[in-house]
Symmetry: C2
Subunit: 209 residues, 2 copies
């Protein structure tokens, strides 16, 4: 696990304010999963809340509804291939955390694995780490992590696939986020913004007005 | 008005997918307003839907609730000062579209105006243009525009300041978005991502995985 430092809850919204694509991790009943979500946003400052869209067809949906918890992980540019892969393959077909499973995104035989073997998730032996407040894991190599408890709103969950969560713990790699500001050190360790069809933008230059 | 071309509705989500900060414009009963919103996201593909947070204290909230309509305008880097200004000052205090009003963001005497006189909204004589389907205006100089009709969800509007909208028309400057992809030509004409305290990120390099 790369280094992580607690982010004070009133500053947790800053981890999502600039609109990065996130990985949603989840766990329930001995199963765990991770998917990509470009459709996420902060919803409140303090207590911090978030909103994220989780499609009915996903295993993530099942695990989030059963556990009432999820983690939003902010991936780095070097995890873009992983982000695409976990956003493409369903956890119903593959164990995304397995290094050896035939369908794993980390397995060399998998068409997606060509990219995945480059990713930190597959390089590291421990691809995920226990969170502090929720059962969902923290994904290795990310820039920041928001541990969330679902705020039950059955109508909008069912009608729009829209989930609201309260952030109950937040973490960031101090090399990229400290004192309430992102400060990306290089081209690789910066957040990403999904466009479509395997195309991303990196978070660009910071500037003040 | 810079050039704008209709974006097919099933591709409208692409205008927000990478998480830019937007300007929310609104109008009702002869009043109009514009505010900044980092907390926005796409919510569905087709028919396209969006979600955006609109605080109870804002004039925008009053106008959006009264009209049932809003426009999400995607500002460019050269509009960052404008974005900060309209996100700082309330439409209850100033007419943000006025060139001469004592409190206008465009007025030279206003503390915010120092930045604003640089902005396209204040340079151009017509700072806003009529939309095609809604009463809310399209803000000059932006990169893209999503005309939205509120999907009434009183409970989440009241509880979370969360508004859902169906996109009923979408537009983009073809110099920056065409065939379903953003292609920013230079440092100025690209989207922006608000951090905090007057600090933004520009949308950075595009890359494929």
């Amino acid at each position: 696990m790369n280094q992580r430092v607690a982010v004070p809850l009133p500053k947790a919204y800053l981890l999502l304010n600039h609109g990065p694509t996130v990985l949603v991790s989840s766990a329930h009943g001995g199963r765990r999963n991770v998917m990509a979500a470009a459709w996420n946003m902060a919803l409140d400052f303090n207590p911090p809340k978030v909103a994220v869209v989780i499609d009915k067809a996903t295993l993530t949906r099942e695990l989030v509804e059963a556990s009432g918890e999820f983690v939003l992980n902010v991936p780095s540019r070097e995890q873009a291939a992983l982000t695409l892969a976990v956003g493409t393959k369903s956890g119903r077909e593959i164990d995304k955390f397995s290094k050896d499973g035939a369908g794993s995104v980390c397995a060399p035989g998998n068409p997606l694995a060509r990219r995945e073997v480059e990713s930190r998730v597959c390089r590291d032996s421990g691809q995920a780490t226990a969170a502090s407040m929720v059962g969902a894991p923290l994904i290795e190599g990310c820039l920041a992590w928001l541990e969330c408890r679902v705020i039950p709103e059955p109508h909008i969950q069912q009608t729009y696939d829209l989930f609201l969560g309260e952030v109950i713990a937040a973490w960031a790699d101090p090399a990229v986020f400290s004192n309430g500001r992102w400060h990306f050190p290089d081209a690789a360790r910066r957040s990403i913004h999904y466009q479509a069809g395997g195309s991303f933008f990196a978070t660009g230059d910071a500037f003040e007005v």
